[in-house]
Symmetry: C4
Subunit: 251 residues, 4 copies
């Protein structure tokens, strides 16, 4: 592999078209709350894929589609340009398998955002509490104190240093890397048990995000989407278990 | 070590001789189905070793032959030129011990294939199901949808996204890396329990592969070869257990 | 991330002002004895932060302040210039998550110390004994035999090769890297159970350190500070547990 | 750290003096058989230390001498020039903590041997069998078939591919890396339970090595030396256990 991370823009597209003041990150994480919300928005808005990122920091495997066709696992950038919203989305199959990869990938994603004129990044995630939650709270974190008031007004809770130990993976690191660029960073975390793909937490998170970015989106089929995702993920989890065995076998 | 991966061509050979439209990969994996098939073909066809690949991505050890002579563990390229078939084989002692190494090695192998004019790659593997299988299915995956029909005709099954989580190691990644070169990639996986070297699954896989590449090969001593391999592998497994202890000891 | 380790000096400061003959390291470690002492000194003396070090060798996360604002986790350099003491302090959220990172970071810290004219480094740590200690001993180690007498006079104990297996992390490696520069290195380790932040061990260690560097410091609120730190750390530990789960989840 | 591996020759020595046709490796390993034999020979012959190798592939710690003085953990080269024998010895505190480091270090050691005119390398190790052995066998492996007869004549056993899975760490890899240089490589392994420093196995191994290199050495205090080493190692093991806890603590 010539590069540790490779960004490939879809050929027909012109890179200059991708200006956007906003980036929404929804990579896999606890309860897949962020992934569910971001992929739902991409679907509902009809955002277009503009780039694929492959990397040796992702698991050493290909993804197999239902049609039997393989592809390297990746992260993807989508672009949406509407009347009220112009926006980039960052979604994908996996986050990094190594600490070092988390740093390199998150740093690169913020560099790309900066290049495309992004002024604010929303990172979406789950906040695993280990038990079923009747009415999930949406917790927030920001990379500039001045952002807090605006976010709190939408009902987002800023616990006193909750989650206590910080925010891990791209949802946290992208806020850290955005700071020196002056890019505003907001992390929204939906409370969730952490055991299953959580459409209830995702619905509440999506409602708040829509208020913040000023759009309206149908959430009616979010539960269905969650069920599909749960199904696909349980297959992956199964396979990953086998994979660990295989890796120890072939290593 | 000067390079992370070192490819050494056997000296007497001229690199230009190694043109081949086909590469068959059979590195170690679940049930060693792919390894068994590829090594059987090399033996039966009398393919010649043309290159040895050593790498710090392989385990930090030497292999000890029955004659008491050591060699660095490696992957090997074989070349066969017959009336009906000209073909490269990729086999070896191990796959990478690290995620990053899997990416680097698979990418290099596809680069070599491209250099030698390869138009199609068959990667062979096992599909571990965790229980004894009376009549193993041969599952398939392709890196271009157009290949599916040809492969299905030979009896290969394309499950709906089965295996669900993808295909790991060289068998998967080589298909991914072959795609941008326009090299056709076909992965054939023999269902197997995953616990032992599986000659039954290998026999069925070999029969289908022979149909696809248009040759006939005697499979009568495949069971014997599997027993030998099982024997050698159980010695290695034993040693590897000791190795882990030693590594923790000397580290 | 452009560099594996990034050192950023606080902008308003002029790097030449930071001359100091002494550096005191108190990064996290067993019982957080060293961290507690160093952070207490920074607070009591009113030392000023002069630099922040971020690195992909730290955990892949941001730290969340009680105000809900995030920052990349880091190590920090503080500078104090008083009548009787001019001194650098090295403290931080974490040490390296990898072996290799420990070497790179410790080596860099000694390079910085050398650049600022440091002639002696005190590294502070805990010596975990696994049980409650009524009167903790303060153990010592030096990187030049000539230093031993001076240190022993303050009541520091040099056990015969105790701790038997060496001193790990920055507290040890910085002494090793200081040696070729001719920088004196002294490691002071307070005996501690290892289970909790230990203000008793820290108080004794602080008293000896103050004798060595010739200052007097109020230790009355060290217990309170320890309780706060214990509280914050238990939150981090909780989160880290979640983090491991998340890392395995998102990887 | 500027380099991943740093070789420092003792200053007063002139590098050209170190010509030697022979190198004996006795780094830590199972039962510390090789380490015990090599360090005994260094002591008995009065070999001189000529170089120290430090590396970020070793554990991130300093070693603490009984005098309370620290040093980076390392590997060391000794040189002996006598009437009947001129020889290099390679010994040390640890082997690499990573797979990659094993490859880099072993490769470097063979490069150094080549530079100093070494024609034959003996690597010494233990062969762990997991139970007490009344009369330990000395097993052998060679990197050229032509060496086998000479070695067998001294009583060394060449089992049929025993140890089955190969020889790990420097004892194995150095034989592999020596091959392309035409340097003869012989690995001698003393059977041992693997649980303790084994002076009985070491005595038998030493006797055979002395026959091979044509010297006589007093073995009377080998048991005493083994007891000392066991004592030191159990301290290190204890510390290492603490170290793992500390590493997880400070990471």
């Amino acid at each position: 592999m010539k590069e540790n991370i490779s960004v490939r823009f879809i050929e027909e597209k012109d890179e200059e078209e991708f200006f956007a003041p906003l980036l929404i990150e929804g990579l896999p994480g606890i309860g897949h709350v962020g992934k569910l919300v971001a992929e739902h928005l991409i679907q509902e808005l009809g955002a277009e894929k503009i780039a694929e990122i492959t990397s040796l920091y992702f698991p050493p495997q290909v993804i197999l589609g239902v049609d039997g066709v393989t592809r390297l696992c990746n992260n993807e950038l989508y672009h949406y340009q509407g009347d009220n919203l112009t926006c980039l989305f960052l979604v994908g199959d996996f986050q990094s398998t190594s600490n070092e990869g988390h740093y390199h990938l998150s740093s690169l994603y913020v560099d790309i955002a900066h290049r495309f004129g992004v002024k604010r990044i929303y990172t979406l995630g789950g906040y695993g509490v280990g038990h079923f939650v009747e009415t999930p709270r949406i917790l927030g974190a920001v990379n500039q104190i001045s952002l807090k008031e605006e976010i709190e007004k939408t009902g987002v809770i800023f616990g006193e240093g909750e989650p206590g130990g910080g925010i891990i993976g791209a949802a946290g690191l992208m806020l850290g890397f955005a700071q020196p660029f002056g890019i505003e960073g907001v992390c929204l975390m939906g409370e969730t048990s952490g055991y299953l793909v959580d459409p209830k937490s995702a619905t509440l998170l999506l409602e708040i995000l829509c208020k913040l970015i000023g759009i309206e989106v149908d959430t009616s089929n979010l539960h269905e989407r969650a069920a599909e995702m749960e199904d696909a993920l349980s297959k992956i989890a199964e396979q990953e278990k086998g994979q660990e065995e295989e890796l120890s076998y072939i290593g």
